[in-house]
Structures are given as C-alpha cells and as structure tokens.
Amino acid sequence: MVLILIMAGVTNLSLAETSKIKSSFKVKHDISLQSLQKLPQPIRLTGPQNQKTVILSLSSRQRVSDLTLSLFVTNSIALVARSQMAVSMNGSVVGQIPFKASQPETRVRMTIPASLLKSGYNRLTFSVAQHYSDRCEDPMAPELWSEIDTKRSHLSYSETPRVIEALLANLPQLMDKRLIGPYSLTLATAGEVDDTLVESGGFIAQAAALSRDYAPVSIHHVVAEPAVFDDELSERENTLLSRMKFGNKDVVLVGTRDKLKPWLGKNDYKRAEKPMLLIYAIGEYKQHFLLLVTGKNKEQVREASSTLATSYANLPPNWRANVDEIAAMPAVKRPTLFSDIKQPFSSLGYSTVTRQGLLSESIRLRFWVPAGRFAKPNSELNLHLHMAYGSGLGIQSTVDIYLNENFEQAIRLSERQGAVYYDYRLPIPINSLQAGWNELRFQPNLLPEREGGECQPIYTENLLLTIFEDSFIRTDQMGKLVQMPDLRLLSRTGYPYTGDRDGRAITLAITSKESGNLSAAWTLLGKIAQVNNSVINDLESVEPEKATGNILMLGQLNEIPEFLRQSSSLGRKGWLSLAAEAREQTLLESIFEDQTIPTVDISLGDMLKHSILVNQFESPQQTNKSIILVVSESPKKLAEGVSKLTSNAYWSQLARGTAILRTDSDSVLTYESANHYMVGDASSQMRLAFIFEKYSVIAIIVTVLIIIIFALFTGWLLKRYRMRKHGGQGIE
C-alpha cells in the first residue's frame, strides 16, 4: 500500500527577481538517496532508539522548489504499533511514519517545505523509536530494526537559478562546490593560443576547480570572436555587454587587452595597462558571469590568471580589479600527517568528543597522507590516546579502532570503576596508511554491566567514552618514495607524486593547440589541482619534444614524439593490442586480477576511437620523473573522455600503469605495466629498504649470501695473515 503524507506546502518563490525567471529555466531533478553521499544500501536502524542523517547540499545559485521525498522503508514484523520513524529537515519534523507489523513494507511520499532549506548543507534525519512490546522489553533484542532502501528512495525537486551579483568577491559562490551535477566553464581565448596562453588557461581552470573543491569541473575551450553587429552604432559601442554572444553559460575570457578590445570599455582598456580581472553578469536574466582575465601583454595575462588561481576566494567586492589590488589568499592547509613529529589530534582538526549510550556513533579523525611520505617501509603509526570511560561498563566493552575501514586493534574497557588513560599507546603498521585521505575511526562498543533482558532495565547514561583532542599521533620517519607506475596515486594524491604540491613544476605538453586538446588539458589540470588541494604555481607549457621534468602530455597518439611513445608501455611492443599484452601477465597476476581483461584482440588505434587512454611511465630523459600520457583519437574525443574521467565516479577507478576509459562504458579498465621505477628523493638506503620490503625473500637470501661470502673472504685473509705472522712458530 502506498501511503502519501503531505506535511508542508510548496516553496513560495517570493523574491521578485526570481519570479521573473521563466519556467523554462526550471530544471527537475530526481536522485536516489544512495547517490547523495555514497550511503550504504540499505540504511539499517536498530535498537529502541536510533537515527541516521543524510546531508543535502544546496548552492547559493540554486533555488529549490517542489522538494519531495519518496521513502521505501521496511520494518521488523515484531514491532508494535507505537513504533515509528520521524523524518526531519534541519531539525524540523517533516513527516512521521508509523511502523506496523502487518505492513512491514512502507512507501511514503512526503513534501519537504522549501523554506526549511538553506544554502549550504542541509541535514535530512531519519529517527526511529522501535518497540516489540508495550511492557518491559530488552533494548538489545534483535527484532528491533528497520531499514531504508536508499536505492529506491528518491529525492525529487525543481531547481531554478538564483541571481548573484556579479562581483569578483562572489566568484566562489558563482563557482560553488554545492552546485549539483556537472559544472561546465567555458574558457574563451582571444587571439592565437600560444604556450603562455595555455598556461594562463591552466591557472584559470585551477581557480575554477579549487573553488569547486572536490566537485568536478569541465572546461570547454572556445575561440572568442567579437559579435558581428548590423548597425554602425552598435559597432562603435560594441563593448556593450548585452551584445556579446556567449549564450547562457559561465564564461572566462582570456587574452591581452588588445585582443580583448572589443569586449573592453575605454576605461577598462586603459586600466588593463596592468594585469586585470573584470566580471560581468550575462545571460537573459544575468544569471551567469563573464570573467575577463587580461593585461597589457601575455605575461601580464599569465600573471592575472595566476593571481586568480591563488586568490580566487579573496577577491575584492568590485566588478573590476587590477592584480596589485588583490591581497594574497592564505594557503589552505589540509590536516596532513607528517612523519617523526608529535601531532596532537587538535592539529588535525579534531576536537574532544564524548560518546554516550549503547549504540554510540564512531569517533573519527581524518588526515591526509602525501604520497611522497608514504613510501618508507619502516615501522608504525603510533597513537597516544588520552581517553576516559565511565564506570559500570560491561566486561565486553571495547573501542574498536579502524584505519580506512580496516580493523586494526581494540582497546578493552575492562575497569569496572572506569578509567582515564593519559597515554594509551597503540601501534598500527604504517602500511595500513594510504596515500591521500585516511580515516581513523574509533568505534565505541559500550555495554552495560547487566546484559538486560525483559523487565531488566539497562542504564546507559553511564556508558561514556571521551577521546581528548590532546591525544597525539606520531609516525616513524617516512621517506619520500613510491613505486611507479601507479595511477591510483594520481587519483588519490595528485601530481607530481612525491614533491610538494605547490612548489614543484608540472610541464604541460599538448600535441596540438586545438580546442579539444586544450579543454582536456585544462580540465585535467583543474582536477589535479583539486586533488593536490593547491595551485600548481610553476606550471609550464611547452612543445612535447621539449618537455622535461614531470610531464602531463595530452593529445593524439600519432602526434606523440616517437622516443616518448617507445618509452611508454604502449611502445614496448610497437602497436600490439593492449588486450594481447594483458594476456601475457603471469598466472598469479591473472588469478588475482580484479578487472576483467578483454580477450578480444583489438588494435590500439581502433580502441582509441571509443576511448581515452592514460599511461604512466618514467621519463626517458630524466630518472625520478614521470610522464602521464593521455591520448585519444581526436581532440574532441579527448575532451569528452577527460571530462568523463575527471568525474568522481571514474577518477577513483584510476589504477596501475595504464587505464582505459571507454566512452560507452561505465568502468575504467586498468593494466599493469612491466616497467617499474621509483620516484622520490629518498636516500639510497631508503630505496634499498624499499626494495627489501617489496622483495623480502630474495633480499633475505641475498643478505645471507653476502654474509657467507664475507665470512669466506675474511677467513681467507686471516689464513694468509696467520701463515705469514705465525708460520713456523709451533702453530697446529
């Protein structure tokens, strides 16, 4: 049976300017709960009282209406009539669902008042009260459960744009990370696209991407051309914004002031003597922006772009500004785990947390581990916990410790009178860390002394656990070394792999400066900046032949220089098919493959018609440097492919040495490369230790052999010494 509950009315669009927006701008969305936050399927709520919260983000540029929640709930048939679920939005109850044993499956559709929503993060909470008896009951009874089917449960809403004043300071809101769905930014270049302009575009792409935080940004390059106007008057006054032909899109226009002259007013042109940023509202209802990045020459344009990237969230509340008027933005610091120093939890953004009750939520600590510092094989991550727990806990009470959802250790809370540990030490193998974000989760399992049962009251107020913020974490010294190729590192920690994110150069090499290639390069750069969480300051664009250092190379396969092609795994056997190459993997590798290897031979050229290929290999010119090659058949295919690849669903699938993303497929195929190499600035000893870790058995055998050889050689030397020194003096 379908139960429809309407708890509130539709949002009243009260703002005057919004009412002007035509209904054609209204876009309907229908998304499953599961896709909102990678929620588990299903959400299971157990015990007499429990709740789960789902976060719904809303951008300032969005106005939501007609928000409806379709919920599929299944409850235990043991539940009695007073059991129920309450749904609330930002603390206000928007609906209640009674649980009935006779109707265990319930489908509910409820309208959520738009007035309850706000820009930013909205909390959609599901709270349950579950009982199997009207009298005494055992709160631990397994019958106390209900489930929300997150796949079938949907949120549907209509979205209309909200106009935001076109000011430079509002750029972060205009390129908001909470904008749902893919975000496309048009990057228009005026004049010939040379390397400096490519770099400028790269900075602008990074600014957009960083403003969007983790949300994908797809950059679309166009060549800016002034509109052709019919009348002379317009020709003279073609700086009028209303006459520009960019359509309903967010646009960044980049070029020297001379090239952008058609779009600049006289004063603007004059002010563009120095690097300058300008913003205008465009579109039918001025719901989009046009950002001009310009200067007197190409270098000034690059400077303006670079400033935009480094100060996008600190721009002045003006529609126009020269870069010398823009204050530098404080660097964003991630809670990064450093090696060999004492790091209080507070320095990782953690505040003291107390948990109470039977089914307490986990206590979480998130921190970032750079790829470069992950390589050292030595030793452990040592937790020094300052923690306390209440008295009267059952002997089975524990705190389970998970690192990246792998169970590591448990702390037994066995003191009946409770305890305070000032320095509870927990070593965790450093190998459990992963490059990028890591999460330590402390899962309290606080059980009362009395096990309960019917009419056996359980007191849960005393079930307390606190982990204090002055607890600290210390890792043994880690080196800067990674074994390559490993595209997973690109996905998780960005590029370059072991260097500092903000100071090291990436050389961008594009085979031809066609729009598709440029769009792909800038989109990819934006994604890398997002993963790096910082701007790649020393970005340099060069011809592929001249590229050195850590190279990001995009283009078409036949335009890639031969020597680079030969160095890549693609060139290893000429143009043999990847499929055939994959079949040559060892038996063990093939057994443990988690990807299905295509068994049909297809040529690389044919394959690239429908795919993009990402290959990682060591630079033939410089050791310790990597080249990431992204190729497709055509610039257009490349732009489409990279845009798809940089979306979160595919980006996280990057792994191993070679990855192929088919435009008609939902998965990324990955292949191991034969040529392994190491990247990092670790000492030779560290490198040796790294090899020792990787190939322990061989290393141990070699060590023993070295000892034997050394012993034999020493014995031979000592025999010579003995014969010479003591020969003839009565030695036996």
Binding site: E380, P429, Q685, E693, I709, T714, G715, L717, Y721, G730
Partner: protein, 775 residues
C-alpha cells in the same frame, strides 16, 4: 692496515680495501630501516642459519673449514646485533621528560658498552691460535740460561716449599737455571717495622725462608723497601741475576717438571720474542664454584680466558703477560726498565710496553703450573678488584690508542682486555633499570612488544648462541653474568676511585690457602640483600601493572621478565655468598687416568692404581683378589714410576682409611640406586679404595711427592680439558637456576637460623641481666 705498514704489500692493501668494502656493505645492510615484519622474517632466517652453522661446526674436521664456519657464525650473530643496535639508536631514544631521558641515556650507554665489548670480543676470538711447544736443541750449549723468580709476600712456608721444590727440579740443565725466592715479607723495612711483633715476625720469616731455600737448592733474595709491590720485588731481583730468560711464578704456582722444555724453544727461534705465557691452571675451586658446588660439573670461570681468549689474543699478536707461569726475555725487560709498575696490573702493562716496542709474545695453551684460587669470596673480590683497577689504570694512563708502535689489532686486543673491566657500570644499570620504569614510570626504552620481539630478543638469542658456540666448552651461558653481577658492586666503587685518581690504587696481595673451618655468610652479602628486595618488589609491581594497567601490559611484561632474570642472577649470587666449610686442607689433583703404582708392605708388593693425589696424600684402588689390602693405620711405601721425575720413587706413607666394598662411597651410592630401582644390577666389586697420608722423611721424599702431584704436565693437561664440556643454553640456565635456588635457600635458612640463635642468646642475656634486679 692489519699488518705493519712495512710488511704490507700492494696486494694485501687491495685485499684489505675489498674487505673494508664488504664490511661497509654489511654495515649498510645492518643499518637498513625495515618494517617490523620484514625485520622479523630476516632475523628468523638469520637465526635459523646461525643455529645450523652452530650445530655443524663441531663436527668439521678441517681447521680452515671450521674457521670459515666459525667466522660465518660470528658475522651472522654480529649482524643481528648490529641491526638491533642501529634500531635501538635511531628508534628507541625519545625524549619524554628529563628524568626519563637521563635514565634512558644511562641504559643506552650501558648497552653501548655491552655491544662494544661484544664486538671487540668477537674480533679477539675470531680465530684462536693453537700452538704446540717448540722442541729444544740437543746441544745444551745452545740453551739460554733461565732464572726462576718466585716473588713472595706473606704466603705460608709450606706453600712456598712446594713451589720451591718443584722449581728446583724442573727438567733443564742444572747449570742453565737458578731458582730465586724473592721475599717481600722479610725486607729491611719489614724487619725494622715500628711494631716489634711485626718486625720479629718478618725476621723469623726471613730466617726460615733462608734456611728453606738453602735446603732445597734455591736462592733467597730480599730488598730494602717494599716499593712498587710485586713489580718492585722482581725489578730488585733483576739487579742480582744474569739469566737470559726469566720464568716468573707466583708463590702458589707449582711448575711442572717440563715447563722450561716446553717454552724455552720459542725464544731460540725468535729473537723478537719477549714472552711465552702459559695458562694458570687451578687445582681448587674459586669460592663461587665451591659454594654453588659446580666445580666438578661445570668449567671454571677463568678457563675461557686461558683456553680461548689468550689464544685469540695470540692470533693478533696481543697475548699478554699474566703475572706468572710466563717466560720473559731479560734483555727486553731491561729495555723497559724491568717490570712496569705504573699500574697495579704490572703484568699487562709490561706486555703492552714491550708490544709497543715491536716485540712479540706467544701464548702456549698447555698448562704447566698448578695454582690456587682464593678460598673466600672476599679474597676473590680483592683479586678481581685489583685486576679491574689495574686494567682501568691501563686504559687511562697507557691507553693502547695513544701508545705508538702497536698494530691496530693489538690496539683492539688491549682495548678489549682493559675496557672489559668497565662492566660494573653496565651490570649495575642492568640490575636496577627495570625498577626505573616499574617504580617511577620512567620511560627508558621506547618500543612496543612487536619491535622488542623483532629486534631485542633476536639480538639476545644471537649473542647467547655465539657465546655458546665460541666459549661454550669453557664457560657456560650466563656464568659471565653471574660472576660480573657478584663483582660489579665492589668493582664499581674501586674503579670509580681510579677515575677520580688514576694513580691511587695500591697493590693488594690476593690471599691464598685460607682455611675455612666452618660455614659462614660472607661479609659482602648485604648489598645483595638490598638488590634482591628491590628486584622482588619490581616483579610484584610488574605483576600489578600488568593486571591493572592494560596499556602498560607489554612494558610490564618485558621489564618484569628482565627483573626475573636479574633475580635468578641474584639468587645465584646469594647462594655463592654462603661460604662452605672447606674439609680438605690441600686440594686434590685428579689423575684423570689411573696411574699404575705398587704398595710395599712387609716386603711384599701389591699392584694398585692412584686415582687422585694431593700434597699430603693419595687415593688408591687395589684389587683384593690379587692381594690383601693393608690395614688402616699401617705404614707402607708407595712405589711409583714418578712421571714428574722420570724415575722410580718410593714414598713413605701411612694408611689413613680403607674403604671395603661395603663402605666404599661408590658402593653406597650403588646400593641406594639399586634400591630405588634406578640400577638393574648391583656390582659386587672386589676393589678397595685406600686413603694414604704421605710421611716424607727426607727432602728427596718431598721432591718425589711434589713431582708426583704437580710434576706431570700431562695430568695437568688432562685435568685442564676434563671439565670442558658444552651445555645447551637452556640447560646451562636451568643448571644455574637450580643451583642458585638451592644454595640461596640454604643461605637464607642459615641466616634465619643464626638470627634466631642470636635472638635467643640476646633474650637469655637480657633475662640474666634482669634477674638480680627482680630478686
């Protein structure tokens, strides 16, 4: 680099560079930081390989192959230790608070000391040299003249007489050697002592010794003053003698008849040779051996030095003079002004000085003297404290690294010998370190259980395996720890004084031949009581912490285990400090193989075997089916082909006791075992054991007795190796634990008993004292 520069060829240099390169690779690998699991795999593999090589080494026949395997064992064990050391240095030293850091540094330095000595020890003992004696030329004219010097201070006359008798009858052309008794107890200064009693005593001693030396054919020498103790005594004598070689014997060191035959030959062939040192073979147990009753079951503590270490030093040209049982070239001694006296270990100091002049030394591992060890623990401590102070003096005043002329191996060898004596610092730290954490919570060792098991435990296991492989036959595992623990408390104070004033120590003569009439507790026991109490309290706190502080469980377990090990050592120490009554006045020498002899009674000769002898008597076995045994109390003659004289000798004796088959101790034991069902068949022996007391009537009788007891170097050699048997690490630990527990309990029981008796006496005295008042 290993050789003197002038002897080093280009090829040698190249080989040494290769070797250094190999060493660098090994050190590089040893310092490689690895994850705990990888380290665990590595050490398991290395220990496995180590145990295999240790197992196969004794079965190898070829000397060179055995040496190669021996080096393999050493390098494997050292590699494991170095891995521990690098890890220990780079990982476990963290600053927590000042007190913890100070404690951690102290413990670390103690470990650094231990590892340094361990490495030096492996270097010294890498390839011990085995020498055989050099034959003498048949032409006596080619033989050098020898002066046998016997320095004396306050030893018993009987003891000196035995040494003099043996020295005057060594097998060497009579014209080519002279024996001198160097009496420091009868110097002019002593005879003019302000105390008339002491002066008279010195005068009496001088006269008695003059008479004795005249009687045995030796020479008496004394001097004006007692300056520079033993060194001064010998140097004074050097002014009166002219022999080319000097044999120095302690007063209680009775030489075998062939001591010169075995040693002089080395000097004839090597003009650069200044020393031939031979082992000090002791016929009585040291006090620790006697009190723990280990003398017959376990190799002596000093055997390792004379059986392995001196051989190892000899390989590197660094075997040194041990004060006695050594032959020295006179001209060399003159070159350094005689025996050096700057330190109180004049022997090692003299050798060091001569080595630095480019002279060579040789160690001949055959025992050629029989000596006595101190009987009491206080005498033992006095001896060891002198050694410790002297060697520390050498380290400070004549540091081998500052002395020119020594080769690098010699410098390392002397460093090993002198630096070893710093052990009291480390040993005391190891004894009290667990309490630092357990009582005060000081964080002295920053490691978790997995790391400890992966690094520290393999290091301990490898070091113990190596020690057992190199020295197992001559010193069982954990014996060093016991002896060092017992000495450390007293040596610590003594060597601290040397640090304050390196020239302060005075030479103290080790008391020998003391008589122990009854059981008593050594006066040096009190510090050990305190340590035992601290250690037991540490163990209790460890258990408490383990049970009540889950986060400290691992550390409590490690430190608690460490405290238990310390307790084992301390119990052994306490057991050894319970001094036993010494029933036998003169030590007995086991003949090792039965010596044929005959008993002459009433003009009849009855064949018998001698199984042991002492300076006062002998034990015989006689077959009653062939002849009637003599009666107890009867006077007989023991006829024997005396190996110490090379002729038939007759020794007048008195029969003290005859053990028939019924009352023989051997048969009593048999009977008990038979009744217990442990023996299937009780032997009906027809042999009797006879205890004889020597009744010498002439000096030739005395000479015959001395020759019989001490003259045969073959007997000494057999006895030297008789107790050299290996035991597994756990077996040795078990042995020491059981002995320690047994004798420490006896110690405690005796202490309680005597305390109760004292209390009773005190109470009775109090009652008596109060009695008149009440009446």
């Amino acid at each position: 680099m290993l050789l003197r520069k002038k002897n080093t060829s280009a090829a040698d240099k190249r080989h040494i560079y290769y070797w250094l390169f190999g060493l660098f690779i090994l050190l590089y690998l040893a310092a490689l930081p690895l994850a705990v699991t990888s380290q665990a795999y590595l050490v398991v593999a290395l220990l496995l390989f180590l145990s295999i090589t240790v197992k196969i080494m004794p079965s190898l026949k070829s000397y060179d192959v055995q040496n190669a395997v021996r080096l393999c064992i050493i390098i494997l064990a050292v590699f494991v230790t170095l891995r521990y050391f690098f890890w220990r240095t780079t990982t476990t030293m963290t600053y927590v608070d000042p007190a913890s850091f100070l404690a951690a540094i102290t413990l670390y330095l103690a470990e650094v000391y231990g590892i340094t000595i361990y490495l030096l020890g492996t270097f010294v003992n890498a390839v011990p040299l085995r020498r055989k004696s050099m034959p003498l030329p048949n032409d006596h004219a080619l033989l050098p003249t020898v002066d046998i010097l016997i320095p004396s201070y306050n030893e018993d006359l009987e003891l000196l007489e035995v040494t003099l008798l043996a020295a005057t009858q060594v097998a060497y052309p009579k014209k080519k050697f002279k024996v001198y008794l160097l009496d420091d107890g009868g110097t002019t200064a002593k005879r003019n002592d302000p105390d008339p009693r002491k002066a008279a005593e010195a005068q009496r001693r001088r006269e008695s010794l003059q008479e004795m030396t005249q009687r045995v054919g030796a020479h008496y020498l004394t001097r004006e003053h007692n300056d520079y103790a033993k060194a001064g005594n010998i140097n004074s004598a050097l002014n009166h003698i002219e022999g080319e070689l000097v044999l120095i014997l302690d007063a209680d060191h009775v030489p075998a008849f062939n001591i010169l035959q075995k040693t002089v030959g080395f000097f004839i062939n090597n003009t650069k040779l200044f020393l031939v040192q031979t082992p000090h073979f002791f016929i009585n147990p040291d006090p620790i051996e006697r009190n723990l009753n280990t003398f017959d079951d376990m190799p002596s503590e000093n055997e390792m030095f004379y059986s392995v270490v001196q051989r190892g030093l000899d390989f590197w040209g660094g075997s040194f003079f041990c004060g006695s049982a050594a032959l020295l070239r006179r001209t060399c001694l003159d070159e350094v002004g005689g025996i050096c006296g700057e330190t109180i270990t004049e022997d090692a100091e003299t050798a060091l000085s001569l080595h630095s002049l480019g002279y060579e030394s040789i160690y001949l591992g055959e025992p050629l003297i029989s000596g006595l060890q101190p009987e009491t623990f206080s005498g033992f401590v006095m001896q060891r404290v002198r050694w410790a102070q002297g060697m520390v003096q050498i380290f400070m005043l004549k540091n081998p690294w500052r002395l020119p002329g020594l080769t690098i191996p010699q410098r390392l060898a002397y460093t090993s010998s002198s630096f070893f004596w710093f052990f009291p610092f480390a040993r005391i730290v190891f004894l009290i370190a667990p309490a630092w954490f357990l009582f005060f919570g000081l964080q002295i060792y920053d490691a978790n259980m997995q790391e400890f098991v992966s690094y520290a435990v393999p290091h301990i296991v490898a070091a113990t395996m190596l020690s057992n492989a190199l020295f197992g036959k001559t010193r069982w595992p954990f014996v060093s720890e016991l002896y060092e623990t017992m000495q450390s408390l007293f040596s610590f104070v003594a060597i601290t004084k040397v640090f304050v004033n390196p020239r302060s120590p005075k030479f103290n003569v080790t008391p020998k031949g003391e008589k122990l009439d009854k059981d008593f507790i050594s006066s040096l026991s009190k510090p050990f009581y305190a340590l035992i109490i601290i250690t037991i309290a540490s163990i209790v706190v460890a258990i408490f912490r383990y049970l009540n502080y889950p986060e400290q469980a691992n550390v409590a377990m490690i430190t608690g285990g460490w405290a238990v090990f310390n307790l084992v050592l301390l119990l052994g120490a306490i057991g050894a400090l319970f001094e036993r009554r010494q029933r036998r006045v003169t030590p007995r020498v086991n003949m090792s193989v039965k010596m044929n002899a005959a008993v002459h009674v009433d003009k009849q000769f009855s064949a018998c075997h001698i199984f042991d002898v002492s300076a006062t008597g002998a034990g015989l076995i006689m077959d009653t089916s062939l002849a009637m045994p003599p009666e107890s109390g009867s006077e007989i003659e023991l006829v024997i082909d005396n190996p110490g004289l090379g002729q038939l000798t007759r020794i007048p004796c008195s029969v003290k006791r005859v053990f028939t088959s019924r009352n023989s101790p051997h048969n009593i034991v048999q009977k008990i075992l038979f009744r217990m069902g442990l023996l299937k068949r009780q032997e009906k022996s027809k042999k009797v054991e006879i205890g004889l007391q020597f009744m010498p009537v002439s000096i030739s009788d005395q000479r015959a007795i001395v020759a019989l007891v001490f003259g045969d170097s073959n007997v000494l050699g057999r006895n030297f190796i008789r107790r050299q048997r290996q035991r597994s690490i756990l077996g040795a630990l078990n042995f020491l634990v059981l002995r320690g527990i047994k004798y420490s309990f006896q110690h405690i029981a005796y202490l309680l008993r005597t305390t109760i008796v004292r209390l009773r006496v005190y109470r009775q005295e109090k009652i008596k004292a109060n009695a008149p008042e009440t009446t």
